[in-house]
Symmetry: C2
Amino acid sequence: MTITGEMIIGSQLVRGSAGEQRAYNPSTRAEFEPSFGQASGEDVERACALAQQAFDPYRALPLEQRARFLEAVAEQILAIGSELIERAQQETGLPQARLEGERMRTVNQLRLFAKVVRDGRFLGATIDTALPERTPPRPDLRLAKIGLGPVAVFGASNFPLAFSVAGGDTASALAAGCPVVVKAHGAHLGTSELVGRAVQRAVQECGLPEGVFSMLFGDGRTIGQQLVAHPAIKAVGFTGSRGGGTALMRTAASRPEPIPVYAEMSSVNPVFLLPKALEEGGAALANGFVDSLTLGVGQFCTNPGLVFAVKGAALDAFTAAATTALQAKGAGTMLTAGIHEAYNSGIARFGATEGLRLVAQGSTEGIGCAAQAALYEVDAGAFIGNPDLQDEIFGPAALVVRFETEEQMLQAAEQLHGQLTATVHVKQADHALAAKLLPILERKAGRVLFNGFPTGVEVSHAMVHGGPFPATSDSRSTSVGATAIDRFLRPVCYQNLPAELLPEALRDDNPLRLARVLDGDLKVAV
Amino acid sequence: MTITGEMIIGSQLVRGSAGEQRAYNPSTRAEFEPSFGQASGEDVERACALAQQAFDPYRALPLEQRARFLEAVAEQILAIGSELIERAQQETGLPQARLEGERMRTVNQLRLFAKVVRDGRFLGATIDTALPERTPPRPDLRLAKIGLGPVAVFGASNFPLAFSVAGGDTASALAAGCPVVVKAHGAHLGTSELVGRAVQRAVQECGLPEGVFSMLFGDGRTIGQQLVAHPAIKAVGFTGSRGGGTALMRTAASRPEPIPVYAEMSSVNPVFLLPKALEEGGAALANGFVDSLTLGVGQFCTNPGLVFAVKGAALDAFTAAATTALQAKGAGTMLTAGIHEAYNSGIARFGATEGLRLVAQGSTEGIGCAAQAALYEVDAGAFIGNPDLQDEIFGPAALVVRFETEEQMLQAAEQLHGQLTATVHVKQADHALAAKLLPILERKAGRVLFNGFPTGVEVSHAMVHGGPFPATSDSRSTSVGATAIDRFLRPVCYQNLPAELLPEALRDDNPLRLARVLDGDLKVAV
């Protein structure tokens, strides 16, 4: 397919007239032809108006049709073939195997949401039967959830497929019955066009209203803000920087009608090495940590940037083993020149911070926007006194905090900002300490994991990829996994509705065979 | 019990030192002794610190104990006896029967949440079993919800029991495992003290950490804002004016860690009279409407303030019958002098609005802060051109909008702001029109009801008392009914947790006999 630089506005391909953006190869630092035309205010208006028009007919479709549409998107993405992987490689510097894995993840994610839609549990169907004899009489009350309305999705730079145009936010919003307007990320414009066209084909193939999906090119600060401010948009999905996320939060909160923003922003993903695990973990623990730290050039939201342990010989041995492992890691190409610069600034900031010691650096061998991994250490006192040391450095850099006592480590855990993940390494003898740590970590993170590393986020039913601010803007939800659909739903209660007007999910004969709550008790359809 | 004017800070009774407030009888306009001491900044600090300390031990209690605590609160409220009803009557002007009904509602609400806690469905327990043979291996992943943390609750003036100190927000937050700090409403201070002491006794009786409950007196603009800004507070429940609610939203959004605000604010609860229902409804329809409009002196959040119908002889007959009914209604005492003034200003604003015609007024006979009911009408064109006519006048005033055509009525429905409820009166012949209206109303309101009136909000499993802005600040939830517990929860995923550290809800042997999602399928314990 020829990449044309055109946007997708419903069934149309539209060349944006408000300036242009260029795709860029972070390895060679070369720009691609053609340019991508940026959206004008009218383009935003048109995409949002179409989305608004599409909302009622799209959400009224039988769940089976909605599920098939999600599957059709998956098929259309696969049908692009190797061109998608090649283009994504050129635009992001990510290796082929990673991108192929990410494509499979994207496709499986769409299929997972197709299953979620068919299961229908997300509707939360609940029925209280009428009690006409009671004083006062109770009316017939039936609850089901509906979509919030059109959703603005901002693609992430670090997952050009799984968290971009047809990624998690788009899949969960479409599953919830919400049309989507994507603001494509500037770091993979051609990849976005290819995937956007695949979604557009699926919309057409399934005979859906055209406004179910649009995709715009443009700057986040202009087009992005206009999109979030548009009255037709009822929720926002975003993965990116804390600055970008909080800017969208402000815009959403200051609308005449404020709307929810699901921004996944910044997390340093602390790793706690408890004494016995540290003592017995040896080089395997250090190697596992360094592998997780440098995976994908540290460009994962769940990258472990902070290590907590009590100082002593075991921690010294860990640091020594981590040093050896880190020095063997080559410098990887980062996603964009801007991310590379920000990483270098972060490292420079660490380097200039009193009390921080550079422990180890990776190799400088690499091309283009290549990032040299780095490991620092700091004593607990200096860490506790400087909350800025909790700020994320996006990339393969981590800080080991050396505590005097377990009690001091628990106190510092209490001071942690919100996180996507918190990791604890334990042996049986550490369980008593872990039991004290766990209630703190439950309050701090969306996922608490033991004896592993936080990178690698399973797309499944029990996953939570979320957490308290600043990890995300809204800890009540997840952006990965089946329950991500809940973000884009709101409940509606139907009182004394004539039977023929009731939504299918709430009809007496339960044609969808849903598990429903009936007069307070869960009833499974047989 | 002697009312002392003291606040409740954990297990202590504390006389606030930052000025004083006085309880007031809106019928006699007399003030009560003693005065109530207002909270200082230190009092806020102390209540919040205790709540923070209580959070982990409180949420760690077995669900059965949490449920019994809610039941103990209910018992302690009943144990106050007639003194509670008498004091509430004096402070609010509400009649005895209404307050007795509201006490029963408050008690039943606490008991409903005890059932919700015991059922444990709110935990959303979900397990994905490990797949060690898969490439890459899938870890063991288990999801359960936990409380957000301490919740600040703002009592409502119009429900001195059911939406105040131990009302819906407090009950649902406590059920979710969250300690509560209440800012008592100035309109029923003595009632608040009586109920607050009942909750305090229940905390002591159940041996809970003292910080599970505190209650402060003070001004919303000072103490209320300090409370919402306090870092220990993780969510806010509020029922009141749009100005008050949006002020709290701004404070919550501008904290270093923004937090959710559940503000239930303003709704005019449109009633659609479809042609056949209007034609056949006769005086019964008009009487039902006027009864709902004037119930509780129009001081319900779901008070029907807007009527939509196509003009003609049937609408004229409805208006005539409503006029007769309204003229027979006496002027009722409003909750406070401030509310009474605001009502009179709203009526004056309607009177001065071009295009609005006064159709009927209730009797002026009444005492103290007595409000005269009022019915206005307006032609569709003038209504559509003036969005301010959608602003709520809190009290027994309504506006009938006369449309030229059904199509014009549908278009105006599309322009409605967010509502708690939308009501449709139909006969069989109206179902086709109702089917066009329903998707619009689903988008506009939390509850859509047919052939009834919106006042009277059942506390049950399927109720939704919520809706898009400005009805509430967050349409994703309800403040009445079993699912209100969801507002104060967030999901946590546990990955590869040692069995002995797992929360009870997620253990392999399922000791709580929960319905759980296992590898994507709902499994009911037998």
